[in-house]
């Protein structure tokens, strides 16, 4: 109550106060009158007593004001400790968990199918690797397993089979190699190790990027990168020699891996084109395109390499030849496959020898 704002002097203040009170009274009376008119109209129009019913119902729905109970008389966590019997699995489930449980149990929720599939996949995996429980090292190895392959297949099944992006995914995901394309023809018999003759173009391509050392215990190839600490380069070399023949091209060395990352794509395409090429002298459009690209790349990369083969047909070429593609006519694209390989020991004649071996 700030009186100091008043411009008028003492005796006027009371008058002012009186005035204020007068105004206030007027306002209050106005409000009361307003209410009276409202009520009177309601009475005369007949809707004044509409919110009331008979005494009995009024008593029934009276507001409850007891402790521990809401105004309707309901207890707060009445169903907290109750258990419900699931009609499907006949188990007793807590009330608050009942709805999600039903979702999973009946297989009708949004995630239920996903979870079930994942569970099945992991069950397959664990049952396969259970025999090797002793050696954790292998389990950590990120090994190829049939379950993973199936998973990868399933996940990638909707990708276009002909899209050039295949190679990209192969490069980035070491663990899920492109077995999506090689479905039936390239079966893996994991009891006896990998069926090496049947290595498809993708698996073969994977040698470019993965360690590939076959674990003694699980007979699976290591899917880690070329720098995997568990295996040495000699081991990798041995694997490649074993798989691809004595003239197998070398592993890329550690330093070179980091460099030509971009090579993979054109290389992959080149590989594919070579693999599909069956003695046809004609160069398909993809071939020429890829070869162009790869040759360009190889040219640009030339100064970086320590040792470069004259022909540049390295492990890529060797690997590619496995699937029986590319006849002797493969001249242009072959040259282009000089990627990360540093110790090239192949010469032109050896190329055809590799092909001959396979064919």
């Amino acid at each position: 109550m700030k009186m100091e704002d008043m411009p008028l002097s003492g005796p006027d203040n009371t008058k002012l106060e009186a005035l204020v009170n007068d105004i206030y009274s007027e306002l209050v009376e106005d409000a009361c009158l307003g209410l009276c008119f409202e009520v009177h109209r309601a009475v005369k129009q007949g809707y004044f007593f509409l919110d009331e019913t008979d005494q009995e119902s009024m008593k029934e729905f009276e507001i409850v004001d007891q402790p521990g109970v809401d105004i309707f008389g309901q207890v707060y966590n009445q169903w907290k400790n109750k258990e419900c019997e699931c009609p499907n699995c006949k188990r007793l489930i807590a009330a608050s968990r009942f709805a999600p449980h039903l979702e999973k149990c009946l297989g009708m929720g949004r995630n239920s199918s996903r979870i079930a599939n994942r569970r099945l996949a992991s069950n397959n995996n664990t049952s396969k690797s259970e025999s090797d429980q002793e050696d954790n090292d292998d389990l950590n190895d990120n090994d190829w397993s049939y379950g993973a392959e199936k998973r990868a297949k399933k996940r990638k099944s909707d990708k276009s089979q002909n899209s050039p992006r295949r190679s990209k995914t192969l490069k980035h995901k070491n663990g899920e190699l492109g077995s999506s394309m090689s479905a039936d023809p390239y079966k893996y018999n994991y009891n006896a190790g990998i069926n090496y003759e049947m290595l498809g173009p993708d698996e073969v391509r994977s040698f470019l990027t993965t360690c590939g050392v076959i674990s003694e215990h699980t007979k699976k190839m290591c899917t880690r990168s070329q720098r995997c600490p568990q295996h040495t380069d000699e081991q990798r070399m041995a694997v490649r020699v074993f798989l691809l023949g004595p003239s197998a091209p070398v592993l890329p060395e550690a330093d070179s891996v980091a460099g030509p990352e971009s090579f993979d794509i054109p290389d992959g395409q080149a590989l594919m084109s070579r693999l599909q090429w069956e003695d046809s002298p004609e160069i398909s459009p993809s071939d020429s395109a890829s070869s162009k690209a790869s040759t360009n790349h190889s040219d640009s990369r030339r100064p970086k390499k320590k040792k470069r083969p004259p022909l540049g047909l390295n492990s890529g070429g060797g690997i590619g030849s496995l699937s029986g593609g590319g006849g002797s006519g493969g001249s242009q694209t072959n040259i282009s496959l000089s990627t990360k390989k540093k110790k090239p020991k192949l010469t032109a004649p050896s190329i055809s020898s590799i092909y001959d071996d396979l064919n």
């Binding site: 109550m1 700030k2 704002d5 008043m6 411009p7 008028l8 008058k15 002012l16 005035l19 204020v20 009170n21 007068d22 105004i23 206030y24 009274s25 306002l27 209050v28 009376e29 106005d30 409000a31 009361c32 009158l33 307003g34 209410l35 009276c36 008119f37 009520v39 009177h40 009475v43 004044f48 007593f49």
Partner: protein, 102 residues
């Protein structure tokens, strides 16, 4: 007497001026709305309605008149206004006067 009249005239003139100002500037309407809102908020309206019901039951539904209601309701209404509401309104009126009075 002349002085008293003068004084009273002054007062009434002042009052008239103030009232006029209140209405002109829309302050009266605002104050009315404010009061109504506050009274509803604090439950005064429901209280008064309940009292009305009693009066109506007393007088009979068909025969109740506006006058009946006014006579019964207004004194009780005035008395039942909560102090906080009263204080706030007085404050606002005083502020208005301070701003716009001569």
């Amino acid at each position: 007497m002349v002085f008293i009249n003068e004084k009273m005239n002054k007062e009434s003139r002042l009052k008239a001026t103030i009232n006029q100002r209140l209405t002109e500037l829309g302050e009266r309407e605002r104050l009315k709305e404010l009061l109504r809102a506050k009274l509803t908020e604090c439950g005064w309206k429901d209280q008064m309605k309940a009292h009305c019901k009693e009066v109506i039951r007393e007088k009979g539904l068909e025969h109740v008149t506006v006058e009946d209601l006014v006579v019964e309701i207004t004194p009780k209404g005035r008395a039942l206004v909560p102090d906080s509401v009263k204080k706030e309104l007085l404050q606002r009126i005083r502020a208005f006067l301070a701003q716009h009075a001569a």
